[in-house]
C-alpha cells in the first residue's frame, strides 16, 4: 500500500475525555456514553474516560441483569483495551462515598484525587459529559 493511502497522516489528534457521572441501568446515559466512546475509537483520537459521582457504579464487578431483563453492558468496559482506550480515571472521593474500593472495579483504572481529575480535564481539547 502506498504512503498516500494513509490519509490519517498529518491529521490532528485531539485529546477527548468522556466524563461519566451516572449510574448504569437507572437511566440510559451510561450505555449511550459507552456507545459514543466505542464510536470515537474509530477516529484514532487520544481518548480517555473519567468516572465521577455515580459514574463509578458503572464499573462495579459482578453485575447480573437477568432479573431486570436488561443488557449487562459492563463487560464492554473490559473490551475498551482492545480499541486502544486504556486511560480510565476514577475519582477517589466518589468511590469512597459509595463504599467502594479499586478492588470492587472490573477494569484496571487510575484512581485519583479531585485535583488530579481537574488537571486531567483541563488538559483536554474536548470534554463530553454523560
Amino acid at each position: 500500500m502506498s504512503d498516500d493511502m494513509d490519509f490519517e497522516e498529518g491529521g490532528t489528534i485531539k485529546k477527548f475525555m468522556f466524563v461519566n457521572r451516572k449510574a448504569p441501568y437507572g437511566t440510559i446515559y451510561a450505555l449511550e456514553g459507552l456507545e459514543v466512546v466505542l464510536i470515537s475509537a474509530a477516529f484514532d483520537q487520544d481518548v480517555s474516560l473519567a468516572f465521577v459521582d455515580d459514574g463509578v457504579f458503572q464499573l462495579v464487578k459482578g453485575q447480573k441483569t437477568d432479573g431486570v431483563e436488561m443488557k449487562n453492558f459492563s463487560p464492554t468496559y473490559r473490551a475498551l483495551e482492545g480499541y486502544d482506550i486504556e486511560k480510565l480515571y476514577v475519582d477517589r472521593e466518589s468511590l469512597e462515598a459509595r463504599g467502594l474500593t479499586e478492588d470492587d472495579l472490573l477494569v484496571d483504572v487510575q484512581v485519583m484525587s479531585a485535583a488530579e481529575m481537574g488537571d486531567m480535564m483541563a488538559q483536554q481539547d474536548v470534554v463530553i459529559s454523560f
Binding site: 449510574a23 441501568y25 459521582d53 457504579f57 462495579v60 447480573k64 441483569t65 432479573g67 463504599g99 470492587d104
Partner: protein, 98 residues
C-alpha cells in the same frame, strides 16, 4: 405507608426527604432501581438507613443488576417482585418518591 425510592441518594435528595418526612410508625422504605445504591455497605448513606426507624427493603433483581449482591449493609430485607407486590398489598397506602 410504604415509601418507594428509585433514585440514587448521591444524585437526588429523595431518600433524605423520605427519612426526614416519613411517619415511622407503620412506615417502611422500599429501595428499587438506582435507589438500591443507598444500601451499599460502608457508603455515606449506610448510617442514615440504619437510623431510619422503619424496615428497609431492597429489590433483589435491581441490586443484582448493579453488582451489589455481596455489597449490601446488614439489616436490610431483600425482596423479589412477588415480595414487592406483598409489600404494596400489606400497607394501607404507598408513595413513590420520584
Amino acid at each position: 405507608m410504604l415509601h418507594i425510592v428509585n433514585k440514587s441518594p448521591f444524585d437526588t435528595g429523595s431518600l433524605a426527604s423520605v427519612l426526614r418526612v416519613a411517619k415511622k410508625d407503620g412506615g417502611a422504605v422500599l429501595l428499587i432501581e438506582d435507589g438500591v445504591y443507598a444500601a451499599v455497605k460502608n457508603s455515606a448513606t449506610e448510617a442514615s438507613l440504619k437510623a431510619a426507624g422503619m424496615p428497609v427493603y431492597v429489590l433483589q433483581p435491581d441490586a443484582d443488576a448493579r453488582g451489589l449482591q455481596s455489597r449490601l449493609m446488614e439489616g436490610v430485607n431483600m425482596v423479589d417482585y412477588g415480595g414487592f407486590v406483598d409489600l404494596v398489598a400489606g400497607h394501607d397506602n404507598v408513595q413513590s418518591w420520584l
